[in-house]
């Protein structure tokens, strides 16, 4: 068995909510030791957001938090207090990498910004990621990824031409931003290996989203054309849509890119005569009669289960795919073949699925064994074994509230059910 890629690399993970923690997750899946630092007094917003086990809210019951904190050690620490800051300083000196995804300026208040940390540990690799980036006229703006996705331009091009733009449920920029940041962290690790010097990385998540709209931006710059909402239409393919199938909210996506695929589709539909039909025989005529054609295809697809249609169409060489929902992706045979999800045992939630990287590495497959931590679950291991605090130190930090506990939860919200 090959050694884990990032074995020995230590990450102090102050990042929170959805985007920032994905970076330490990726490194931890490949063998890094990552400590997620949280406080009961100022909870990670995901700990109070569902899905909760059995729909019962609780800070240790949410799959939302768990998803982005696989393989991390979790500690509770109130670094808004002086003694907590002392501990945090020991933590950043222990670490190779420090992460920050709070609204710009937040960690500076506690002496944990890059400049302060670099004074303690000059070769630290530190990243700050925020919506707009740390500098500039909107630098202080904080929000969630669905808001940022509207700002980038995704909402504007998601929807039907006769309806409003749509909100992206999956807060899409939270999932365009991690990848260039992980690439940058690895670059920084290589740079430090060569030079012994640390690196400060700074990211605007909105910029990462804008980068995913490159061709559309150039279309405006070169041609003055502003992309709008076009439903599921495509400039080169027709038919090109999702069509209803048998069952409740069952659909299939079909994309016809050339006449050969069109002829195959006609065969499978049992409508060989449409190949010569003047309404549909060429791409141009299909595009002209797209609404009518969509209606006819929907009339046909309605009677079949989506998976059966996909098998029939793919066998005939027609690009098509079931519109999977959550249930669909979890049970998808290809996803299972790739072991995209692994089931791990969480101390409170029990068996739950966890994501794996989307790439398979032939020599260093990630060894995934640790479910996301409950808040403060690894306090003893981290404070004692990794940071070297004595039992007495730990006791007194528990007593004075430096190490937070359930008693420190604000109000009753988020309190685990009795």
């Amino acid at each position: 068995m090959a050694k884990a890629v990032f074995q020995g690399i230590k990450v102090c993970d102050f990042a929170w909510i959805a985007m920032g923690p994905q970076v330490a997750r990726e490194l931890a899946l490949h063998g890094a030791t990552a400590i997620r630092v949280e406080s009961h007094r100022k909870l990670d917003g995901l700990r109070t957001s569902g899905p909760f086990k059995d729909f019962r809210p609780g800070i240790d019951r949410t799959g939302f938090y768990s998803a982005f904190n696989t393989q991390k050690y979790g500690i509770s620490l109130d670094y808004s207090r002086p003694r907590g800051q002392e501990v945090a300083r020991r933590l950043v000196q222990w670490a190779d990498i420090v992460t920050d995804s709070m609204t710009p300026g937040t960690l500076a208040k506690f002496g944990l910004d890059y400049e302060s940390v670099a004074r303690l540990k000059p070769d630290i690799i530190y990243f700050s990621t925020s919506q707009m980036g740390k500098s500039g006229p909107y630098g202080q703006f904080g929000s969630f990824g669905d808001v940022a996705s509207a700002y980038c331009g995704f909402s504007q091009i998601l929807g039907y031409p006769d309806r409003t733009p749509l909100r992206l449920h999956n807060a899409y920029t939270d999932f365009t931003a991690p990848w260039p940041l992980i690439v940058s962290v690895i670059s920084a690790l290589l740079y430090r290996r060569k030079t012994g010097k640390g690196v400060y990385l700074e990211q605007s998540q909105i910029e990462s989203g804008i980068g995913m709209l490159g061709p559309a931006l150039l279309d405006y710059a070169a041609n003055g054309r502003i992309s709008g909402r076009i439903g599921n239409q495509d400039p080169y393919m027709c038919p090109h849509n999702s069509y209803p199938c048998r069952g409740e909210y069952r659909w299939i996506a079909i994309a016809i890119g050339n006449d050969e695929e069109w002829c195959s589709l006609c065969e499978v539909m049992g409508r060989p005569e449409w190949r010569q039909d003047s309404r549909f025989s060429t791409f141009m005529s299909r595009k002209e009669n797209e609404a009518e054609l969509d209606g006819l295809i929907a009339h046909w697809t309605r009677d079949y289960p989506s998976e059966q249609l996909m098998a029939m169409l793919q066998a005939a060489g027609v690009p098509s795919g079931t519109v999977h929902d959550g249930e669909g992706i979890v049970n998808d045979p290809q996803v299972k073949h790739r072991q995209a999800f692994r089931w791990l045992n969480h101390s409170v939630i029990g068996r739950m699925l966890y994501n794996t990287p989307s790439y398979a590495l032939s020599k260093t497959p990630p060894e995934i064994w640790k479910a996301a931590p409950c808040l403060g679950e690894d306090n003893e291991l981290v404070y004692k074994d990794m940071l070297g605090y004595s039992d007495d130190d730990i006791c007194s930090m528990l007593v004075d509230g430096t190490i937070t506990t359930e008693g420190d939860l604000p109000g009753t919200r988020g309190r685990p059910p009795q």
């Binding site: 899905p51 980038c152 670059s187 992706i329 979890v330 398979a360 919200r413």
Partner: protein, 438 residues
């Protein structure tokens, strides 16, 4: 003993380690990926790698995709190509001929990475699979990007963007309650695959720096999109509930008797749309909602919600009618404001509210201008004095943004320089060209 060529290679590697943003300087990438999968090589090029695009003699299929510069269909004018092809040089090579493959193998000896997005098994059939390449150049990293991965029941399925995002669960979360599920009309499927392949490639590269060993990176675009679904799979796993597109709002799945809560999030304003919402429960949301309603109050709107305790607003118990009522009060107010007014207020008062921007808004955004996101590249080949703005790498390293080092190459633009490096003379090149090898 070092030959001259590898000596230069070694020299470049040792000379240029003075900046983290050029950490790959001196490393060579042979890139045969297409479309969005080219994000992988584009990213490595941003970090200083010498990326060589290897296209078929007629040019990459990516060049036939719109939009085109001035709407002129021309393989040298595809804006799609100009964007994805950044940071590279380009050569042409016919891999279906033995002579072309021979040249490719000679290039592999000078390379550290090979990226491809052909259908699974294609490279192996040409005798250019990972095991072959690793024999030619021990330690090479090969990154293969495909819709579903190199093996498995769908590995030979035909996919396009819409088929891919459908099978990855992304379409089902976008849409209107009464219509078909939607995709984002700017294709994301292959781009996410290409982008996440860059992560896998860098993980493999880091391991190679430690051990000298290369490996095969087998990227699935389907899995890449699944990793963008936020909590969709987890919600199924824990609550046996599917989150589905339901119009312009946020869905909070809840058990019976409440059922899912739909919180409206898109509102028309004077000159377009804005995205914001009324939510409570957690700290950031409460402060944002309070600041938003205060603004409306100051202008005589939403007065019935003055002094409401937003921290008590709990999405787990809120009635749909109450949520809708608050949204309609908010709508009345936002209709009287412009996008710019909304953004200004949001930035100043920490409201989670932004205009729904279009591509023009983004290109003219003062924040992006301040941070220098867009880098203008000259395009004399498109017209005298012509230049285009490209979004740069979205991470700053020690305050510097990794540069876009060159515009996308023309077809075979660097044949002479790169094949010349292999010792192929211009006379020989002429013959290769005549026979369709390059």
């Amino acid at each position: 003993m070092l030959c001259r060529q590898s000596f230069h290679h070694w020299l470049r590697k040792t000379m240029d380690s003075d900046k983290p943003e050029s950490i790959l300087r001196g490393y060579r990438v042979l890139d045969m990926a297409e479309g969005g999968c080219m994000m992988c090589g584009k990213t490595l090029g941003n970090l200083g790698a010498d990326v060589i695009m290897v296209e078929p003699p007629c040019g990459s299929p990516t060049r036939s995709n719109e939009p085109f510069y001035h709407d002129t269909p021309d393989p040298e004018k595809s804006l799609n190509w100009l964007f994805f092809g950044l940071n590279r040089r380009g050569i042409t090579l016919n891999l279906n001929s033995e002579e072309g493959r021979d040249i490719f193998r000679r290039l592999v000896r000078t390379a550290d990475f090979v990226i491809e997005s052909f259908e699974p098994g294609y490279m192996a059939r040409l005798g250019l699979g990972y095991s072959h390449l690793n024999e030619i150049k021990p330690g090479i990293i090969m990154t293969s990007i495909t819709p579903f991965g190199q093996s498995g029941p769908y590995s030979h399925y035909k996919a396009t963007d819409i088929v891919g995002v459908a099978l990855s669960g992304m379409m089902s979360i976008y849409g209107e309650a009464d219509r078909a599920p939607l995709r984002i009309s700017a294709p994301q499927f292959y781009m996410q695959g290409g982008l996440q392949a860059a992560v896998g490639t860098m993980v493999a590269h880091y391991y190679r720096e430690l051990t000298g060993e290369g490996q095969l990176v087998d990227q699935s675009c389907q899995q890449a999109i699944i990793l963008t679904l936020m909590n969709v799979a987890e919600t199924w796993d824990l609550n046996r509930t599917n989150i589905r597109g339901h119009g312009p709002g946020m869905i909070t799945p809840r058990p019976k008797p409440h059922g899912p809560l739909f919180t409206r999030s898109i509102f028309p304003c004077k000159d377009g749309y804005v995205l914001t919402r009324i939510t409570g429960s957690t700290a950031g949301n409460v402060a944002s909602t309070k600041a938003l309603v205060d603004w409306a109050n100051q202008n005589g709107y939403m007065t019935e919600l003055k002094d409401f305790d937003w921290s008590a607003l709990d999405a787990h118990t809120l009635h749909q009618e109450d949520s809708d009522h608050m949204a309609s009060l908010l709508e009345e107010f936002l209709k009287t404001r412009t996008k710019a007014e909304c953004l200004e207020r949001a930035v100043k008062h920490s409201i989670m509210m932004v205009p729904v921007n279009d591509t023009r808004d983004v290109l003219e955004c003062p924040q992006m201008a301040y941070r220098g996101l867009f880098q203008r590249l000259d395009h004399p080949e498109l017209g005298q004095g012509e230049s285009l703005p490209y979004p740069g790498f979205p991470v700053m390293m020690n305050g510097n943004r990794p540069k876009i080092c060159r515009r996308a190459p023309g077809i075979g633009e660097h044949n002479e320089a790169i094949l010349g490096e292999l010792g192929i003379t211009s006379k020989h090149m002429f013959l290769l060209k005549a026979r369709g090898i390059i």
